[in-house]
Symmetry: C2
Subunit: 322 residues, 2 copies
Amino acid sequence: MTCQPQSLLSARSRLSLTQQHICPNRLISSSSSLKIESRDQGTKFTGDYKKYAVRDNQVMSYFHDVPLDLDLESKTANMIVEIPRWTNAKFEIDTKAVGNPIVQDTKKGQVRFVKNLFPHHGYIHNYGAFPQTWEDPNTAHEELGDIFGDNDPLDVCEIGSNIIQTGEVKKVKILGSIALIDDGELDWKVIVVDVHDPLSNEVLDIHDVFVKCPGLLETTRQWFRDYKKPDGKPANKFAFNGAYKNQEETLAIIQECNRVWGKLISGEVKGDGLPVIENSTISQLPGFLDSGFNTAKLLNNPVQPDAPIPSEIHKPYFCTTD
Amino acid sequence: MTCQPQSLLSARSRLSLTQQHICPNRLISSSSSLKIESRDQGTKFTGDYKKYAVRDNQVMSYFHDVPLDLDLESKTANMIVEIPRWTNAKFEIDTKAVGNPIVQDTKKGQVRFVKNLFPHHGYIHNYGAFPQTWEDPNTAHEELGDIFGDNDPLDVCEIGSNIIQTGEVKKVKILGSIALIDDGELDWKVIVVDVHDPLSNEVLDIHDVFVKCPGLLETTRQWFRDYKKPDGKPANKFAFNGAYKNQEETLAIIQECNRVWGKLISGEVKGDGLPVIENSTISQLPGFLDSGFNTAKLLNNPVQPDAPIPSEIHKPYFCTTD
């Protein structure tokens, strides 16, 4: 069977997808059989750097081709790690570049690093995104009113013991989420744990994280509230009074963002500044590339030694807490 | 003039030393002219690793030969950095080994790493010691009664912006201190900032740290209170109700620890388990080596690639806070 975005399918097909969910290619739908490597191009910590997902020596899109593989029974999905815990470089899937590599975000021509918000060192989680999800910038949130999505894949915070490297694809257990309003845009942060982490057996829902990891969820909220203050921006706000959504509610959010991604990839969403939809796995849709990505062209920039991280990135920033 | 520990000097000499303080060798008494390198031996992150202080290709003792250079006018002294901020390996000056290299502390044959006490990543300061100071394990503290020193050089927390590497000698401004009681021993932590850090111009005393770096001193107290809890130990306590001593009081503490070190190095202190007193700069004292350390013998273990840091060292530990 050829899998397609949910919105294009019949009711019967949607029903059958409830458990197996949207999967662009059964060959890679099981995480255990996912053989995705990542391939660096250019010089890390510069605007020239790109990290592509590669399978069988062919570039695939981190955004569209890596399967979400949401499993409502085991409450798991695939996560792409963009930023390893305790690091500062703001790596993210480039939704506008063909092939959707991971790049370091830039601002005014400079690569971005998140500031160290004392007492924290860079990001406090392994931070990344769910593939095949999208926060729609064109449709107001039905409960929140005048709040729109941030035009990016759904953000994910992995709370396990290990440091996970940029570009790794991990099967994670979904635990809960918090609705950040970042620069006025809705920007869910989903809390997950690597299914192979020992903690995964101890946390069945968001409440268990409060119990087993005291301080983690409160600190997470505080970090996302304050992390742009050192750049002179105001504190971020949260929808739903900053309360964490539980597992069931979060699964529904992921399903919705997956559905909305399905509309994007199928070409239903129109407008400026939207992500590219080229992909190599979802046939019969407008962005599908019969011959896949032009791997030889995309992987033509040899990897170079990392650029030095500017010493000011190590500075801790202090702001009054409340 | 040949400088000697204060206790060996006449009242007149002591007076003249009030400002220039104890200095084993005028040639290296000014930090600007200190040309101390550090030289690695063996495999980092194993018990085999040693980092020696070296000047003019001769080993010198981090403990006894690097000058404290306490300046009561500028409120500065030399600090030896043992543990860079945001790292876990417990490097420290080995007071019992000839030449006093920096080694990684071991326990039951295993090299020690400090646990990540959530939300912290390793040590939250550049951590180290003042050379030519010693916390006397044989004499009870005159105010605290039945509390004795920890038999180590005085500990120092550098709060500046940069990450300072193991073995570096830095001129620091002294700001204040807190009296940790660690495993029942008195273990002062002196708060300082690198004189070349921009923060140094903004903080003249401990109160300025409360103002300019909100949360830092409270977090420092909490970190030292809790950092052994993940190893199953109880919370540490503080003398003086956990209050920070100011700059003036701290300068007196450093002077006292320098005076007591003078007693040690002069052979006045007897007992088991004391530090070695061999040195290459303080002539006319029992530990002075006329020909210096046997550098060829001490530097005979070629440096090897670092051993991997065990992945469990990256784990965050949670403990309830109060």
